[in-house]
Each structure stands twice: as structure tokens, then as C-alpha cells.
Symmetry: D2
Subunit: 388 residues, 4 copies
């Protein structure tokens, strides 16, 4: 019997100087389930070629466009052809390659947010739903084991009915006008490449996604106050949103790129009728369970007392910290495990199917739309509309 | 020459079972500048007598009402008479004893909030301004040395123009309906004794006061979302307020009594054009200064490198933690030092004059008024009105 | 019936520039059980007079020596006379005033270590045992509520038989030769005033006392390595001690005054057969209970679930941090409560009697003796000898 | 021109149920510089085959012994043959495969400690020195970026001459007799497979290695107290070592497997004449620089202000936590980068050459030898002997 083959992945974007492409690669490679076989790493063919050389790819699998990659890979025998296309380009190059990849029969991993515009998202949502291929949107933070533990404990009723959600995402790297000196800053503040929301497109969507993911409840209405704190910047770099969830729980979401000195300390705290749960990325292997009438409890990754969601998303024993790349790798691993299971005709575990996808994508784009509308309105509350 | 005498203080309220009265006493006594000489500790004369006996007061100085205390103390020779009246009753018994004490010629220390109603506050404000006696409102948290250091560093421009203020005050003790079993819970959720705001009258006012105190900037408009999370409670127990300051800085203020498991971890974070400052009560001797381009710095109470505001409000060397009672005692000590200085005809130090007073009081009551109005409104923004 | 009178205290030492005298005063005053009535604050009569004036004492109760204080106070009617003498002088002035105060019939509070020499300690121990007056030695750190909770939980078997004790006391203030510029540094490094151990007399004794107090087990043998890290200093400023307790538990005690940048973060961790307990002064209101098979638990001061030892030594509700001065005040309060109870012919609570005394003193002095002997020896183990 | 090929790695050990083998694989794969091509994963041929199948290796490259692997790989054309052999077996199977792999011309990565016995280590040291192949010993903790920053700052004199080193490695997983139920516990407490030191062979060597690595100074003499705390266990599970370094700095090293509830929080603190540096694995992206006369500074991984050692060993921007697997991956990456550089005839960067090797190995084995000797001795000090 021939040995099973690793899943083969082709990458769109992620050439020299890109931050997130390298993270995707480490995440995909780490668990030995995926190998990177092909790529169109840049719209500049020479840069794409260089990236392929650095990654030691077969030069014949390094392409100058994703169109070329899709076409030439399709021409290869199925056993050699890539299985997955991972798309890590700026937001204006999300819709088209995803659509084409799915329609050509490749599984797709896409960096968030789903698309440049809400209209694209609605269209892509339909395409994904029609496709028999898998789609994964890398809302990284849902990959942390203690986030999954938090979600599971809330779902199991440990803290009772949710009343209150705080989610905050403070960054400070754009507290000055870096746009002319930093490539990341350049495209992320350019509405034609990033979309019409700046901070709220980039990281506000992560905070929103995390709040709904962990609480298990949808946002029903919002009241937003976005602002541009650095003169000369065309799109929001700071803001706050009051929220009410479908069960009337209250929420406060803040996101900023101008909280000078803050790195990336995404934090979520949820309180229910009986207790509270708190997690922050800076100490991502810890989850604090608060009680009013007995000592708080400290749940730590890698311990035997954790639930199945955390356990399926951990690699090391307690006290050997995993981090951001592993959270990312959990998404790739669950995606890959699901593909392997389907390939073998087996039922994937529920814990593996728990990777973000089309619903996360469309709600994230709706969040941008609704937040901008609310921020521009004199009315306090804007219903959280989402069409698909 | 006769020795200087300690300041003599009479107390209104603070009888058996009261929490804050005992804190006021420890705070007043700790530095040896004040002695407790008299009191009307309860509206129940027998309870007042008992309290006086426990405090080992001369029984002739224990009164059955503040009216009696004021009258009988005035009848004593000036060298024996109390100098200060400290008022630690529920909010519905703030206005009248303060008014009478000031008009009778006593200095007054009053627990916050200033009064039961905004109308009372406006009237009391005028009385205080007309009086030649000193008035102090115990917004405790402004007494912490590292809060004063934070204020001083912002005033000196260390972090540049303020852009962003986060202040949060999460408590969980009222996450259940305790009103019928706990005396504190009983009056603090009763509008006739606490005033018409619950959580926002009790602790929201602290958060608001701290935000304006530390930033040195006034709030200009607000957007509030208050709620009652525990069924059967007549007044708010949770809420959030979006704020804009006079310089257009954005603010987010949250206060809750239903964040189950939270104790009392008031936290304030302020970011400016150049850096950020973060403080939380749970680790009150630490102030973190964040930078984007160099390591963050950890300022710690009791060190020689701190400014005059922190140094005048510290008792122990670095590493010997002071806490809540010392913060309270700083307010009493500064109040007392000011009285001693005036008595000797000396100019009090600016650091001593930095105790909260009438402006803090009237703005706190206006905050309650404006927050309730905003929360009830469909309009997003309510101007922060304050009349006096 | 005449009102009960506050306990009156006279102080020896604690004049201008002294650190610990002011702490003793705040601690004694805070709870309203003791008043400071007399003092001989300095061996320099003019400085003593000044100190008395600053403290607003009756000038007739300010003395130029403790001999004079004892003699003149004895001449006063009992109802006016001081009850307690608090001794806060350098170590060379511990033995004589304590002996005389006890023999004259005063209760004594003495700053640690008990005496300058071990011989004095042995003699003083006998005097204390013979006296019918109370003796208290201010090993401050045993006054913290969460230390008392830790002791109580260990005594109740929560973590099982103790196997391991880590205690560390890192300071950095003497990492340079400060002796010629700093009064505290001057006497604390002078063997004629501080005793023959430097760092180990000053803070090593605290660490040792805490280890035995919390574990409830006595040290049986030690292996010490002391050193002088700053050239020109006559006595130890750094060291470590391996220990074995009577039940064969292992211990590691470290103390240093040259750990540059360290403030005063005394820390103790004890592990038993079933779990572990960890406390550090920098976060003194928290006690962590570690488990191997379930989440760790965070015990916090002021909560209803704590034991009687913590509860009797707390003033504020959870989340309102108490600190070093309150720990000190707990010692004074328990001492005073015991005196009041005895005065009334009542049995003092066990929790009140839990203030450090003669045994702590003699063992502390034996610790110095044994540590110096061990450090000078080529043999690994020195038995922990103590004679009294 | 043909594309450069990834380095090919064969693994010895790491079959089903092994913890460290999977970590080695993730670490080797993460950066895309190495692929796993071959292996003899177990001494049981069927288990080896299974492991190869799970890893989706070509079955012809899965061997039933390392002897077979070495022989058959040598028979392959050089372009297909593995370049590196990674050895992750219990300690009794370290010496032989390493010797044979080096002598056959493969680069070797070996899990620590180097060998089962000191005699083997001395022999292997000579073999490594004679070989022209590279040898790497995975002392993981030296791979953390902030550990490298700490080393670099000390080498650059930031804290002045080192005076004091604290290193502690507390684990609790063996606080009960697990030997009969847990495979890891079984071999790690068996002298014939683990070597004659238990806790001190397993984790004491890590702590020792880290202390010398970070400080840049060698240990000169030691005084050890090892113990067996769990009845029925044949080798040490707990201990402490006093140390003096060659410059007379004092050190305290503790390691335990019975500190119930402790996970794996290796911690190192070093103090010099001017300041101190502190790092702990639980918060591995943070390094605290302590000062006595100005605020402490918090160095955080991923920031631009760090030195070359940290920067060459980081993958993510500040605030995106890396952890244990990345520290491990840094060792593999530096090893691989060095091989690539040598292959191209280029000079490897100093930062890449900074992976642990033969000296670390021989000193680690000498540490075990000396610690056991010292612990058994009545003399206080044992010189730190090392022969090679």
C-alpha cells in the first residue's frame, strides 16, 4: 500500500517583507500535515521567483499570478497537484483568488477580513456555500486552546447565562503617521487595499469575532464611536462600540491602533449570572474563572482537567508555553485533519470542524458596515444587520 | 509655650455595622494629626452611645443627633471644641449635616457622592463657596500616590497630548439580589437613600472623578448605556459610557456591580501622542509607562525618582506596600496639613491642597444627572452639562 | 460608669529621620486602641524634645532618656501612666530598655531582632518569662492576613505533610557602599549597633521567622554560605542557607541587600504532599494554592471564605488592598486586644494571642549565631542549636 | 540552476507516546528549512513502521534500528540521503547512535543530557571534536529570544560585573509515585535508562546550563543537598545547590519534581553591580531590567530596540507571543542556517552559531557527577571538576 501523502499547499501572496505570509507558512508546516509545494508570492514575477527560491520550492511550481497557479496546477496529475490554496494578500486581493480557487476545486484558507467590500463578501458567501470544497478564514485568536476552553465552559453553563462581554484590542503601532515609511502601515491605512474601515477592519473584526465565538451569542445592536486620532490618516485608527447581544447581554468592544506603547494585548472577559471568565493574549495559556463566594480558579493549558476543545488544540504539557503561531497552527491543523478525515470517508471530530469559515467572514464584513453606519449616525442604536 | 493640639474630629454616622465609617477613622488617626473626640454615630441614640463607648470617647461628647453635636460642641471653649466634622452617612444624610456644620464654623469631610440630588448639590456648592471653612469630599482613589504621579506626569507632558482614556470599575458583589440580606446592599440600591443612580452613583462617580482628575481634562459629551441586570432591582447595576473630552480625546468608562467574581479593581489607562500610562488598584503601588520605541518603565511607590505629588503622599520605602487605607489617609492628612498651615498663617503646599472638594462634588452629581439622561435618550450624544 | 481609656504608649527611639519609628506609630494609632502619650525619642535631648513637639505630646511627657521615662511615668497615677513601652532603637539599645521596662511593670513592644547579642537574648528571654507583662517582637510579616491564612491552611492539612520550603528576601538598597551617606545604611552595617550579622541580622531573621511561623515546623540543621559582596563593608550583605526541618522537609532561605533593583519582595512558597501555597509581599493580598490535578485557586484577602486567622486581621472588604502598615497594625491590634481582654478578665481569642514574642526572639538570635557558625565552617551541616 | 534542497532529517526515537519527539519534529519543520525524511522511531519495528506511516514517510525510509538507518541512508545517492540525524531516545540510547551517526558523516541533533554516564560523555566529547560534522544538544531554554537578550545585555556590561545568580526549576508532576502508571515517569526514574541522577539529570542540568549560558561565567565549586521526597523512588526528585562562580559570584540552583502544583516555571535572575535581570519561562517574552535609582524597564520580544541575538531568534512582531516550540525551533533553525552557510561556503553569523553543543554536554554530565558527589559528602564545598 502506498503511503498517505501530505496535503500540498500553494500560497497566494506572502512574498518578501510580508509579515503574515511567514506566519501562515510556519503554522501550516508545524504539524507535518501540510507541505508547501507551490506559490504565486507576489504580483511582481521576479519577487515571486525569489520567494520561491528562498522557500526552496521547485521553480516550476512558482508562478507569477494566482491565475497561472490555478491553471497550471489543474494541469498536473491529481497526486501531484496542490490540495489547498492559502491566500495571504492585502484585502483587495481576497475575493478574486478565493472565488477562482474554490471554483477550480481547491480548498481555501484565507486571511481575514473576508473581502474588501461587503458586496464581495455576500457574493463570496454564496460561492463558498455552493462549493463542495472547504473554506477557512484565519481568525487566529479562536485557535488558542484557552479560548476554546472558555467557549466550552460557557456553552456548558459554568458561569450561567451571559450578562456582560468586555473585549478590547489595544495596539499602538500607528500612534504616529507611519504610512510613508512602513509597508504594513501603508496598505493597512489605504481604503483601496484595506477596505473602508481601518482599525476596525484590521483588528476590530478580530475582537468582534472573538466575542461572538466565545460567548456563543450574536450581537443584536450596536452604538459606535470611531475616530481618526492621527491627523492626515484617511480612515479610523481608534474606536469603541457599545453592544447588546440577542439575549440582551451588554458588551463593550474597543479597538485602537493609537494606544501608544500597547503591543497586541487582545483581552476578553465574560461575566454570567454565576461567575466570570477572563483571558488575555499576553498570558494566553491562562484562563481565570472568577467566583464571588469561593477562590478564583486558574485554568492552565496542557493540564488534564481541561475539556476536549482545549485538549485537541494543544501540543505541549502544562508549563511549556504555546503561543500565537500555535494558535494559527491549530486552525491549519483542524482544517487539515478535517480534509484527511473526509478523504478517508471518516467523520471529522466536532473539535476539528471548529475552524472559522464563511459565517465568520460575512458577519465580520457586516460588522464593518454596521460600525461605520453607527459611527456616522446621531441615533444611539444601529441594529446589527447581516444579509446573506 | 503650650504644645500644639491635635485637630479634633466629630463624626456623623459610622455606627455599628457601617463599613466606611471605620475606614474614615483609621485614615484620620493613622498619621497622628487628628483625634476623634466626638460623634453622633447613629440616628438611634442607643447605637450612637454604644459606638462612642467602643471608641472609648468621653460619653459627654457622644450625641444622639448631628444637630445636638453641632450645638453642644459650639458651647464648648474653642480649645476643647471639635475642629472637623466627618460625615459618613448614607447619601440622603449628606446635605443637611454638611450645610449646618459649615455654617456653624466647622471644617467638613464628607463621603461621596456629595448629596442625594443634583439640586442639593447646586445649593451645597454655593454654601461651600461662601464658607471660610474647608470642605473635603473623599474620592479615595485620588489619594493613591501612583495616581498622583500619573496626574503629575501627564500634566508635565510626559506622554504628550491626551488622546484616549479608559477607566473601568468592575465589581461583582451585587450579581445576586442581596438587598434583603445585606445592609450595604439594602441602602445602596434604595433610591431614597442612595439617589436615583445605583452603580453609577456609587462607583461610576469614582471612575468619572478619577478620569478627570488624572487626565486634567474635562468631559464634554457622553453616550451612556445603563442597565439593570438583576431582576427586581429598582436602579442600575451596570453600564458603560462613551465620552469625549474637551480636547476631543475619546473615553470609555465602565462600571458594574454584577461582574460576578470581580472585587474592586478600578483601573485607569491613558494614552497620549507619545506614550501611555496604566494603573490599577489591585497593584496600586505600580504605574506602568508604555513606550512604542523603547522598553516600558515601571514606576513604583516609595522610590526617590518620583515626583513631589507621590512623595508627599507616601509613608513607606519602596517595596513596603501601602494600600486603600493609606490612600484614604492621604486625603485626611492633606486636609489636616492644610488646616495646620492656615492656623499657623503659612501657605499650604500645593501637594496638600490637592484633596477633592466642591468642584469634584458638583461634577460628580452632574455626571449622575447626565448619564441617566443619556441612557434614557435615543440620541447618541448628550452634552456634559453642569450648573453651579 | 467612667468610659474605658485607650491604652497609652511611650516610645523609645523613633526621632527625626528614623524610618521604623513612624511606622510603629501609624500602626499603633490606626485602630484607635492605643494613643501615644510619652516618649524618649532620641539620646539627644533636644532631638527628643523636637520629636515630641512634632507629635504634639504634652512636653512634660517627653523625656531625654528611657530611664527618665520609666522613672517619671512610674511616679504618675496609674490612670495617667503609660501602659506600653514601644522600643524602636538600633539593636544595641534593645536589651536594656526592654529589661527595665518589663521590670518596671510595663508591657513592651520591641522591634526585631530581639537584642544585639545572643547572650543578651538568652538573658532577656528569662526576664520575659519571669515577667507578668506582655512582650511583643514586631516580626511584621507574620501580621499579613494571607500569611495567617497560609499558616492556618497548612496547620489544617490542606497541602498535606510539608516537604519543601522556599523563602527569599531580596533587597538591593545596599548594592553600593552607602554607609557614609545614609543613616539607615550606617548603623545597619555597623556591628556595634546592628550585631555581628548584617543582612542576616536585619532581614534573614525575618525570612527565617516567617518560614517557621507559616510551616509550623522548626529548623533542625542548616548549611550557610554568607558573603560580603560590596568591598569595604565589615559584615555580610548577601547569603543563602540550605535547611532541613525537624520532619526532614528541605528548605532554601536566601537574603540579600545587594540584589540591585530589588525592593523588598519577601516571598514564601511551601509544598506538601498534596499541593503548594505561595505568597509574596509585593502582592500581599493574594495567596495561591497550587494543585497538580485541578486548577490552582487564588485566595484573596477580605473574602468571606477565609479562615478565622485572616478574618481577625483584616479591615477592608475584598479588593480594597491593605499593606505593610496594616500588617504592622495587626500586631499592635492583637497585642492591644489581648491587654484589653486581660484587663477585663476575659480570655483573649487565640487569633489575638498570635503575635510574635520571646520564642521568636530567641530563635531569631540563635539563627544569626548558627548561620554565622555554619558559614564559617567547612562542614556541610550545622545543627540548629538554641539554648534558653 | 537546480533549486536548493531542504535539509533532510532522520529521527531516532520519538515513536508513539513519546513527548519530546513530537516537539523536535514541530521545531524542525516550522521554519521550512528541514524536512523529515527518515526514521527509526522505536526499537520495536512495528511501532517504528506505524510512526513512519503517521508521519506519511516513504515506507522505504522507515527503519527498524538506527544501525539500519545509517547503513541504508549511506547507500543512497548523496542528494537523497538524509543530512541530519536527530536523536530523541531515553538517555541510555544517546551515546551509541550519536557516535555512529557522526562517524558515518551525519550532522547530529541530540536531546539532553548528552549521555547516560560521564564516561560516555568524555568519550563522545572527543568524537565530536574529531568529527567535521556539526553536533547540537537541545538545551531548549537557551533558544528563547529574551534569554539571548539577557545573555547579550550581561555580556555588554549593562548590569556590571555579575554578583548573584538565582536559577530555579520547580516541577510537581512526580509529587506522587507515578512510576507504575506513566511512561515518562517510568524511564525518567529508572537509573538504567535515565542515568544515576533523577531530577538533577532531567531538569537540574537545564538550570545549570542556563545559569552558565546567560551569565557567561563558569561554576567553580558547589554544595549540594539532594533528596528523595517520595518513598519508593530510587533516585533524587528534589534538591538545591549553592554555587560559587569563577569570579566568586554566588549562585543558588534549585530543581524539583515534587513541588506539587508547579508546572515548569524555570526562572533565572541575575544581579550585577549596577542592576538586575529577571526572566521566567511562564512569561517568556518578557525580560525585566531592574534598577535601584530609576524605573525598572520591561524588555519585550519582537521590539525593534532589542539586540541582534533576540532579533535573529524571533518570528513575530511584539505582542504575538512565541513560546516553547519556537525556542526549540530556534535551536534547529540556527543549526540549519549554519549548515546552509557552510554548504554555500559562507561564514555563519555569530548569532546562528549560538546553539548548544559538546561543551554544554560535557559540563552537564560533569554537573550530575559533581552534584551527586557533593550531596553525598559531609564537606561543604566540592570543586566543579570537568575532564575532557
Amino acid at each position: 500500500m502506498a503511503a498517505q501523502k501530505k496535503l500540498k499547499m500553494g500560497m497566494v501572496g506572502g512574498g518578501p517583507g510580508a509579515f503574515i505570509g511567514a506566519i501562515h507558512r510556519s503554522a501550516a508546516l508545524m504539524d507535518g500535515l501540510i507541505e508547501i509545494t507551490a506559490g504565486s508570492f507576489s504580483s511582481n514575477p521576479e519577487k515571486s521567483r525569489q520567494a520561491g527560491e528562498e522557500l526552496m520550492l521547485d521553480p516550476s511550481r512558482v508562478y507569477s499570478s494566482y491565475d497561472e497557479m490555478i491553471q497550471k496546477e489543474l494541469a498536473l496529475p491529481e497526486s501531484e497537484r496542490i490540495d489547498i490554496i492559502s491566500i495571504v494578500t492585502p484585502n483587495n486581493v481576497h475575493f478574486d483568488p478565493t472565488k477562482k480557487a474554490l471554483e477550480a476545486g481547491f480548498h481555501v484558507v484565507l486571511d481575514k477580513p473576508m473581502t474588501l467590500t461587503y458586496d464581495q463578501a455576500k457574493e463570496l458567501y454564496k460561492i463558498i456555500k455552493k462549493s463542495d470544497k472547504l473554506f477557512c478564514l484565519t481568525h487566529t485568536y479562536t485557535g488558542y486552546p484557552m479560548i476554546k476552553q472558555m467557549k466550552q465552559m460557557i456553552a456548558e453553563g459554568v458561569i450561567g447565562e451571559v450578562r456582560k462581554v468586555y473585549v478590547e484590542y489595544p495596539q499602538g503601532w500607528l500612534h504616529k503617521l507611519l504610512e510613508y515609511e512602513n509597508k504594513q502601515a501603508e496598505w493597512r491605512t489605504d481604503p483601496t487595499r484595506n477596505g473602508k474601515a481601518g482599525c476596525f477592519g484590521d483588528i476590530g473584526t478580530h475582537a468582534f469575532n472573538l466575542a461572538e465565538y466565545v460567548s456563543g451569542i450574536k450581537v443584536a445592536k450596536i452604538c459606535a464611536d470611531l475616530d481618526i486620532k492621527v491627523a492626515g490618516r484617511p480612515i479610523d485608527d481608534d474606536g469603541a462600540v457599545l453592544m447588546r447581544f440577542e439575549n440582551n447581554a451588554s458588551g463593550i468592544l474597543t479597538a485602537s491602533q493609537i494606544d501608544a506603547g500597547c503591543e497586541n494585548n487582545l483581552k476578553i472577559r465574560i461575566y454570567g449570572e454565576k461567575g466570570g471568565l477572563e483571558w488575555m493574549q499576553e498570558d494566553n495559556n491562562t484562563l481565570r474563572l472568577r467566583w464571588s463566594d469561593r477562590p478564583d480558579e486558574i485554568y492552565r493549558a496542557g493540564n488534564g482537567y481541561l475539556g476536549s476543545m482545549a485538549n485537541e488544540n494543544t501540543r505541549t504539557p502544562a508549563g511549556h508555553p504555546e503561543g500565537y503561531i500555535e494558535a494559527f497552527a491549530n486552525i491549519y491543523r483542524n482544517f487539515a485533519r478535517t480534509i484527511y478525515a473526509l478523504r478517508k470517508g471518516e467523520e471529522p471530530k466536532a473539535e476539528w470542524l471548529d475552524f472559522p469559515g464563511a459565517e465568520d467572514g460575512i458577519r465580520g464584513m457586516a460588522f464593518i458596515e454596521n460600525v461605520l453606519a453607527s459611527s456616522a449616525s446621531d441615533q444611539k442604536w444601529t441594529p446589527f444587520n447581516v444579509e446573506f
